[in-house]
Protein backbone atom coordinates (compact mmCIF):
# COMPACT_ATOMS: atom_id res chain seq x y z
CA UNK A 1 0.00 0.00 0.00
CA UNK A 2 2.80 2.40 0.81
CA UNK A 3 5.09 1.27 -1.96
CA UNK A 4 4.99 4.64 -3.71
CA UNK A 5 6.23 6.23 -0.49
CA UNK A 6 8.97 3.65 -0.21
CA UNK A 7 10.00 4.48 -3.73
CA UNK A 8 10.16 8.20 -2.88
CA UNK A 9 12.36 7.42 0.13
CA UNK A 10 14.62 5.17 -1.88
CA UNK A 11 15.03 7.87 -4.50
CA UNK A 12 16.00 10.38 -1.80
CA UNK A 13 18.62 7.92 -0.48
CA UNK A 14 19.92 7.41 -3.99
CA UNK A 15 20.31 11.18 -4.48
CA UNK A 16 22.14 11.48 -1.16
CA UNK A 17 24.44 8.59 -2.08
CA UNK A 18 25.20 10.15 -5.47
CA UNK A 19 26.12 13.41 -3.78
CA UNK A 20 28.63 11.71 -1.52
CA UNK A 21 29.32 12.12 2.17
CA UNK A 22 26.50 13.98 3.80
CA UNK A 23 26.34 15.29 7.33
CA UNK A 24 23.62 17.32 9.01
CA UNK A 25 22.29 19.80 8.20
CA UNK A 26 21.90 18.20 4.78
CA UNK A 27 23.24 20.67 2.15
CA UNK A 28 20.09 20.61 0.04
CA UNK A 29 20.92 23.63 -2.11
CA UNK A 30 24.33 22.22 -3.02
CA UNK A 31 22.79 18.82 -3.77
CA UNK A 32 20.36 20.41 -6.22
CA UNK A 33 22.99 22.58 -7.90
CA UNK A 34 25.40 19.67 -8.25
CA UNK A 35 22.72 17.97 -10.33
CA UNK A 36 22.77 20.90 -12.76
CA UNK A 37 19.45 22.29 -11.59
CA UNK A 38 19.26 26.04 -11.02
CA UNK A 39 17.98 27.31 -7.68
CA UNK A 40 16.29 30.69 -7.81
CA UNK A 41 15.22 32.56 -4.67
CA UNK A 42 12.62 35.19 -5.29
CA UNK A 43 10.01 37.03 -3.23
CA UNK A 44 6.61 35.45 -3.86
CA UNK A 45 3.13 35.75 -2.44
CA UNK A 46 2.98 34.27 1.07
CA UNK A 47 0.68 31.54 -0.25
CA UNK A 48 3.27 30.18 -2.70
CA UNK A 49 6.10 27.97 -1.47
CA UNK A 50 7.98 27.28 -4.64
CA UNK A 51 7.96 25.78 -8.10
CA UNK A 52 9.63 23.19 -10.28
CA UNK A 53 10.08 23.51 -14.02
CA UNK A 54 12.20 22.19 -16.84
CA UNK A 55 12.34 24.95 -19.45
CA UNK A 56 14.05 24.15 -22.74
CA UNK A 57 16.12 21.51 -20.99
CA UNK A 58 17.08 23.74 -18.07
CA UNK A 59 15.96 22.50 -14.65
CA UNK A 60 14.70 25.21 -12.30
CA UNK A 61 13.80 25.10 -8.63
CA UNK A 62 12.06 28.28 -7.46
CA UNK A 63 11.84 29.18 -3.78
CA UNK A 64 9.84 31.84 -1.99
CA UNK A 65 12.62 33.95 -0.48
CA UNK A 66 10.22 35.49 2.03
CA UNK A 67 9.61 32.25 3.89
CA UNK A 68 11.56 31.07 6.95
CA UNK A 69 14.95 29.53 6.01
CA UNK A 70 13.84 26.11 7.31
CA UNK A 71 10.73 26.32 5.17
CA UNK A 72 12.88 27.28 2.18
CA UNK A 73 15.01 24.19 2.77
CA UNK A 74 11.94 21.99 2.81
CA UNK A 75 10.65 23.72 -0.33
CA UNK A 76 13.95 23.08 -2.11
CA UNK A 77 13.91 19.41 -1.13
CA UNK A 78 10.25 19.10 -2.16
CA UNK A 79 10.87 20.70 -5.56
CA UNK A 80 13.90 18.48 -6.13
CA UNK A 81 11.53 15.61 -5.39
CA UNK A 82 9.35 16.74 -8.30
CA UNK A 83 12.44 16.91 -10.55
CA UNK A 84 13.48 13.38 -9.61
CA UNK A 85 10.06 11.73 -9.38
CA UNK A 86 7.88 13.70 -11.80
CA UNK A 87 10.25 14.79 -14.52
CA UNK A 88 7.75 14.41 -17.34
CA UNK A 89 5.04 16.39 -15.61
CA UNK A 90 7.24 19.44 -15.05
CA UNK A 91 8.89 19.41 -18.46
CA UNK A 92 7.69 22.58 -20.15
CA UNK A 93 4.96 23.14 -17.59
CA UNK A 94 5.64 24.88 -14.30
CA UNK A 95 4.54 23.03 -11.20
CA UNK A 96 3.69 25.58 -8.51
CA UNK A 97 3.29 24.60 -4.87
CA UNK A 98 1.00 26.43 -2.52
CA UNK A 99 1.53 25.24 1.14
CA UNK A 100 2.33 21.65 1.96
CA UNK A 101 0.67 21.10 5.30
CA UNK A 102 -2.66 19.58 4.31
CA UNK A 103 -1.00 17.39 1.74
CA UNK A 104 0.89 15.47 4.35
CA UNK A 105 -2.30 13.60 5.15
CA UNK A 106 -2.34 10.04 4.07
CA UNK A 107 -6.05 9.81 3.46
CA UNK A 108 -5.90 11.76 0.21
CA UNK A 109 -2.95 9.77 -1.01
CA UNK A 110 -4.83 7.76 -3.58
CA UNK A 111 -4.06 9.46 -6.88
CA UNK A 112 -3.39 12.54 -9.00
CA UNK A 113 -1.94 15.77 -7.72
CA UNK A 114 -2.17 14.84 -4.06
CA UNK A 115 -0.21 11.71 -4.65
CA UNK A 116 2.47 13.75 -6.42
CA UNK A 117 2.67 16.08 -3.45
CA UNK A 118 2.85 13.27 -0.94
CA UNK A 119 5.61 11.65 -2.95
CA UNK A 120 7.52 14.94 -3.06
CA UNK A 121 6.98 15.48 0.66
CA UNK A 122 8.14 11.97 1.50
CA UNK A 123 11.18 12.50 -0.69
CA UNK A 124 11.93 15.84 1.01
CA UNK A 125 11.45 14.35 4.44
CA UNK A 126 13.95 11.55 3.80
CA UNK A 127 16.40 13.88 2.05
CA UNK A 128 16.54 16.41 4.90
CA UNK A 129 16.24 13.86 7.70
CA UNK A 130 17.81 10.67 6.33
CA UNK A 131 16.97 7.56 8.32
CA UNK A 132 20.64 6.66 8.63
CA UNK A 133 21.45 10.01 10.23
CA UNK A 134 18.30 10.47 12.27
CA UNK A 135 17.81 7.01 13.73
CA UNK A 136 21.11 6.90 15.68
CA UNK A 137 20.24 10.21 17.34
CA UNK A 138 16.87 9.15 18.66
CA UNK A 139 17.79 5.57 19.52
CA UNK A 140 20.11 6.74 22.27
CA UNK A 141 18.90 6.28 25.79
CA UNK A 142 17.54 9.42 27.29
CA UNK A 143 15.93 10.71 24.12
CA UNK A 144 12.28 11.40 24.82
CA UNK A 145 10.07 11.74 21.73
CA UNK A 146 7.49 13.64 23.77
CA UNK A 147 9.98 16.19 25.08
CA UNK A 148 9.37 19.25 22.89
CA UNK A 149 12.58 20.91 24.00
CA UNK A 150 14.65 17.93 22.90
CA UNK A 151 12.76 17.77 19.63
CA UNK A 152 13.36 21.46 19.02
CA UNK A 153 17.10 21.00 19.50
CA UNK A 154 17.08 18.08 17.10
CA UNK A 155 15.09 20.10 14.54
CA UNK A 156 17.67 22.86 14.86
CA UNK A 157 20.50 20.46 14.08
CA UNK A 158 18.75 19.30 10.91
CA UNK A 159 17.60 22.85 10.08
CA UNK A 160 14.00 21.77 9.68
CA UNK A 161 10.82 22.95 11.33
CA UNK A 162 9.56 21.19 14.43
CA UNK A 163 6.48 20.00 12.59
CA UNK A 164 8.59 18.56 9.76
CA UNK A 165 10.62 16.64 12.31
CA UNK A 166 7.56 15.40 14.16
CA UNK A 167 6.04 14.20 10.91
CA UNK A 168 9.28 12.47 10.02
CA UNK A 169 9.41 10.71 13.40
CA UNK A 170 5.87 9.44 12.92
CA UNK A 171 6.90 7.81 9.66
CA UNK A 172 9.99 6.36 11.29
CA UNK A 173 8.26 4.65 14.19
Amino acid sequence: MTTFKQRAREEARRILAEYGDVSIPVPVEKIIKKRGIRVQFSPLDQELSGMALIKDGVGIVGVNALHHPNRQRFTMAHELGHHILHQQKINGTAHVDKGFAILLRDTEASQGTNRMEIEANTFASELLMPTMLLAPLIDTTGFDLDDVEQLQMLAKRFKVSLSALQFRLLALS
Partner: protein, 115 residues
Amino acid sequence: MAIYAHLGRAMAARRTSLGLTQQDIADRIGVSRASIANVERGRQKVLLHQVYAMARVLALQSITDLVPATLPKSDTPASVSMLNIDPGGFSEVQLSDLERLVRSALGPEKVDAPR
Protein backbone atom coordinates in the same frame (compact mmCIF):
# COMPACT_ATOMS: atom_id res chain seq x y z
CA MET B 1 -0.93 44.91 -28.44
CA ALA B 2 -3.74 46.66 -26.60
CA ILE B 3 -1.38 49.01 -24.78
CA TYR B 4 -0.29 50.74 -28.00
CA ALA B 5 -3.87 51.16 -29.22
CA HIS B 6 -4.69 52.65 -25.83
CA LEU B 7 -1.79 55.11 -26.05
CA GLY B 8 -2.70 56.08 -29.61
CA ARG B 9 -6.31 56.81 -28.73
CA ALA B 10 -5.32 58.86 -25.69
CA MET B 11 -2.83 60.87 -27.74
CA ALA B 12 -5.23 61.56 -30.57
CA ALA B 13 -8.00 62.62 -28.20
CA ARG B 14 -5.74 65.01 -26.30
CA ARG B 15 -4.20 66.43 -29.50
CA THR B 16 -7.61 67.12 -31.03
CA SER B 17 -8.88 68.79 -27.88
CA LEU B 18 -5.87 71.10 -27.95
CA GLY B 19 -6.55 71.95 -31.60
CA LEU B 20 -3.17 70.64 -32.76
CA THR B 21 -2.35 68.73 -35.92
CA GLN B 22 -0.26 65.58 -36.24
CA GLN B 23 2.36 67.73 -37.95
CA ASP B 24 2.48 70.06 -34.92
CA ILE B 25 3.20 67.16 -32.61
CA ALA B 26 5.69 65.63 -35.02
CA ASP B 27 7.65 68.88 -35.27
CA ARG B 28 7.83 69.38 -31.53
CA ILE B 29 8.95 65.83 -30.79
CA GLY B 30 11.23 65.56 -33.78
CA VAL B 31 9.65 62.65 -35.65
CA SER B 32 7.79 62.42 -38.94
CA ARG B 33 4.06 63.11 -39.23
CA ALA B 34 3.61 59.58 -40.51
CA SER B 35 5.09 58.25 -37.28
CA ILE B 36 2.57 60.19 -35.23
CA ALA B 37 -0.22 58.89 -37.44
CA ASN B 38 0.96 55.32 -36.93
CA VAL B 39 1.35 55.76 -33.19
CA GLU B 40 -2.15 57.17 -32.93
CA ARG B 41 -3.48 54.10 -34.73
CA GLY B 42 -1.57 51.83 -32.36
CA ARG B 43 0.55 50.49 -35.20
CA GLN B 44 3.90 51.77 -34.03
CA LYS B 45 5.62 50.84 -30.79
CA VAL B 46 7.05 53.96 -29.20
CA LEU B 47 10.12 54.24 -26.98
CA LEU B 48 9.68 55.14 -23.35
CA HIS B 49 11.37 58.55 -23.59
CA GLN B 50 9.04 59.40 -26.47
CA VAL B 51 6.03 58.79 -24.24
CA TYR B 52 7.38 61.43 -21.85
CA ALA B 53 7.96 63.79 -24.77
CA MET B 54 4.40 63.27 -25.97
CA ALA B 55 3.04 63.97 -22.50
CA ARG B 56 5.07 67.17 -22.47
CA VAL B 57 3.98 68.51 -25.89
CA LEU B 58 0.39 67.55 -25.09
CA ALA B 59 0.70 69.62 -21.87
CA LEU B 60 -0.03 66.69 -19.58
CA GLN B 61 1.17 66.41 -15.97
CA SER B 62 1.99 62.73 -16.15
CA ILE B 63 2.48 59.97 -18.71
CA THR B 64 -0.27 58.07 -16.87
CA ASP B 65 -2.68 60.44 -18.65
CA LEU B 66 -1.62 58.59 -21.80
CA VAL B 67 -0.91 55.07 -20.54
CA PRO B 68 -2.70 53.00 -17.90
CA ALA B 69 -0.90 52.40 -14.59
CA THR B 70 -0.76 48.66 -15.19
CA LEU B 71 -0.58 46.55 -18.32
CA PRO B 72 -4.02 45.61 -19.68
CA LYS B 73 -4.99 41.98 -19.11
CA SER B 74 -4.98 41.18 -22.81
CA ASP B 75 -1.29 42.10 -22.97
CA THR B 76 -0.10 39.71 -20.28
CA PRO B 77 -0.43 36.18 -21.73
CA ALA B 78 3.37 36.08 -21.95
CA SER B 79 3.47 35.16 -18.29
CA VAL B 80 1.19 32.23 -18.93
CA SER B 81 3.12 31.03 -21.96
CA MET B 82 6.44 31.14 -20.08
CA LEU B 83 5.07 29.01 -17.26
CA ASN B 84 2.62 27.13 -19.46
CA ILE B 85 0.22 26.62 -16.56
CA ASP B 86 -3.49 27.02 -16.17
CA PRO B 87 -3.64 30.59 -14.79
CA GLY B 88 -6.97 29.83 -13.15
CA GLY B 89 -5.75 29.14 -9.64
CA PHE B 90 -3.43 32.14 -9.44
CA SER B 91 -3.71 35.91 -9.12
CA GLU B 92 -2.08 38.17 -11.72
CA VAL B 93 0.53 39.23 -9.17
CA GLN B 94 1.37 35.60 -8.39
CA LEU B 95 1.72 34.81 -12.09
CA SER B 96 3.94 37.80 -12.81
CA ASP B 97 6.11 36.97 -9.75
CA LEU B 98 6.52 33.39 -10.97
CA GLU B 99 7.26 34.64 -14.46
CA ARG B 100 9.96 36.92 -13.07
CA LEU B 101 11.43 34.02 -11.10
CA VAL B 102 11.71 31.83 -14.18
CA ARG B 103 13.23 34.64 -16.23
CA SER B 104 15.81 35.30 -13.49
CA ALA B 105 16.67 31.62 -13.32
CA LEU B 106 17.18 31.43 -17.08
CA GLY B 107 19.36 34.55 -17.05
CA PRO B 108 18.96 37.86 -18.86
CA GLU B 109 20.63 36.68 -22.04
CA LYS B 110 17.80 34.29 -22.81
CA VAL B 111 14.83 36.50 -21.95
CA ASP B 112 14.19 38.11 -25.29
CA ALA B 113 15.87 35.57 -27.51
CA PRO B 114 14.08 35.51 -30.87
CA ARG B 115 12.26 32.32 -31.77
